[in-house]
């Protein structure tokens, strides 16, 4: 212990480490009414780290070549010791990341934490959400299975509904008229380099914004629930008398991460193929489209919306409008009130929107 203290002293006199700890950890106070939903961000950071680690491990054996990709994935699953575990953690983790991200967004939505001065936090979070969808979509193609191939064919084809440039955009995305080896190269580069770098940068920006604005107070259990922000100047939302981030809330974060791990590992060990339909185990065949090809569960609502509308363009436009509305929500919703139960119109829209999304997802699954 004496040696450890000497090491800390050595670092402290050089970079003032204790001052940083006092300011950012033990002295970083959070509202006393903070709840478990505030741990979602920490869980997401943990999942992202796990995805990066398992992704790097998969890169050791995966071959991004249309002739070898499926074989290399089969090799990882069947020949490499614990290859199945690494791949299942990566594949299940990607689904879990979307799920937890949705919970994170919903908690921010219902606690009205997106309101001023946190518009940029919401916006960066929303871009992160689209990037996570993008990284999931591009990763889906990499095993080069029937499911990968045809799900990517359908997903990329929907872009063709955009007037004038649609068809060119599809070819640009695919690197050719049809999904093929050039598509694999492009999606591989996006999946392992460009999008992860974008996610890491935006996570940094998101945390920086959180650090500058301070953590929002949950509207529950408060007498005054209106947003106090005046907009007359920069003001950090401090919480005098609050609970320290370290060790108090860090332990809460750790507990949430362990609960997540329990759920995650339950899927990995007891139902690893939960997210794998039969076509995920067949190599891609560009000449044989399997029946009832469906996207991942989180794209089922989009898939069903495209099917409902008679024109694909209309279906795409409606989705684009919905996404734009969500992205710009803090700029549209200017109400000062933050308690959801004091906002009936907000509750009707939010709950209605969630039910609509679930309904479309279920419909898309069984259609």
């Amino acid at each position: 212990m004496a040696l450890f203290k000497r090491l800390i002293d050595w670092i402290d006199v050089r970079i003032g480490a204790r001052e940083i700890v006092a300011k950012e950890l033990t002295g970083y106070l959070l509202p006393r009414t903070i709840n478990t939903w505030y741990s979602m961000g920490s869980i997401l950071l943990f999942i992202f780290a796990l995805q990066v680690v398992t992704g790097i491990l998969l890169l050791i054996y995966y071959v991004p070549d249309a002739d070898k990709a499926f074989k290399s994935v089969t090799y990882i699953m069947n020949q490499v010791p614990f290859g199945w575990l690494i791949r299942m953690c990566h594949a299940v983790g990607s689904n879990m990341m979307v799920l937890v991200l949705l919970f994170h967004m919903l908690s921010v939505l219902f606690m009205n934490s997106y309101k001023s001065p946190r518009e940029l936090n919401w916006l960066t979070g929303f871009i992160l959400f689209t990037l996570v969808q993008g990284i999931s979509l591009t990763g889906y193609l990499l095993p080069w299975s029937q499911l990968s191939f045809w799900a990517t064919t359908v997903a990329t084809n929907s872009v063709s509904a955009i007037p004038v440039v649609g068809q060119y955009l599809v070819e640009f995305l695919r690197g050719g008229k049809l999904v093929g080896p050039p598509t694999l190269g492009r999606f591989f580069a996006l999946h392992v380099a460009l999008i992860p770098a974008g996610i890491a940068a935006l996570v940094g920006a998101h945390l920086f914004l959180l650090q500058r604005t301070g953590v929002s107070t949950p509207p529950f259990g408060q007498k005054e629930t209106a947003n106090q922000w005046q907009g007359d100047g920069y003001r950090y939302e401090s919480h005098p008398g609050g609970i320290p981030f370290f060790p108090n809330y860090a332990l809460e974060d750790l507990r949430s991460i362990f609960i997540y791990l329990a759920c995650f590992l339950a899927v990995v060990f007891f139902d690893p193929y939960l997210f794998f339909p039969r076509d995920a185990f067949l190599p891609a065949n560009p000449l044989q489209t399997p029946a009832h090809i469906k996207p991942e569960w989180y794209f089922l609502a989009n898939y069903q919306t495209l099917k409902i509308f008679p024109s694909e363009f209309l279906g795409l436009a409606v989705q684009g409008a919905g996404m734009t509305f969500l992205a710009l929500l803090p700029f549209i919703d200017r109400s000062k009130e933050r308690h959801p139960l004091k906002r009936p119109l907000f509750m009707v829209c939010a709950v209605g929107g969630i039910l609509l999304w679930i309904g479309l997802t279920v419909w898309g699954h069984y259609s």
């Binding site: 490499v80 614990f82 690494i86």
Partner: protein
């Protein structure tokens, strides 16, 4: 004291659990990264005698490493490991000088594998050679 004892005990339990969790995580990762057994080439190689004329050398794979067979002017056969004993580069046969040169750091060996000059600390490893019915067997 009782409180301190309990704290120490709980700390030790937590440390033990953390160590067990780390081991459970590290073991699959180690096994995943450990080199896979690959089909190595035979530990003995047969080469037709006519493939190695006088004054020439033939390089080949022997049990997963590089080897060379030399027929000296005069007909003597010598089989050696082709891996330079300095830093593991593959030596090259200089036909005109009848010696081996390592292109990495200029290590020079005789046709028998003895060090002439340069940084190699020891000679090239000699390999057993037998000839029967026009077939040279190395290894």
């Amino acid at each position: 004291m009782a409180s301190n004892g309990r704290r120490t005990f709980l700390g030790a339990c937590l440390g033990g659990l953390a160590a067990a969790a780390a081991a459970v995580t590290a073991w699959p990762v180690y096994r995943y990264l450990a080199p896979r057994p690959v089909a190595t080439t035979a530990a003995k190689v047969d080469i037709p005698a006519k493939d190695v004329p006088e004054g020439e050398a033939k390089f080949f794979d022997l049990g997963g490493t590089s080897a060379v067979l030399v027929r000296k002017r005069g007909g003597e056969l010598i089989a050696l490991s082709a891996v330079c004993t300095h830093l593991g580069c593959i030596v090259q046969w200089e036909k005109s000088k009848q010696d081996f040169l390592c292109p990495c750091h200029g290590g020079l060996y005789t046709a028998e594998g003895a060090v002439v000059s340069g940084p190699p600390p020891k000679p090239l490893t000699k390999l057993p050679v037998t000839v029967a019915n026009g077939i040279i067997t190395v290894g």
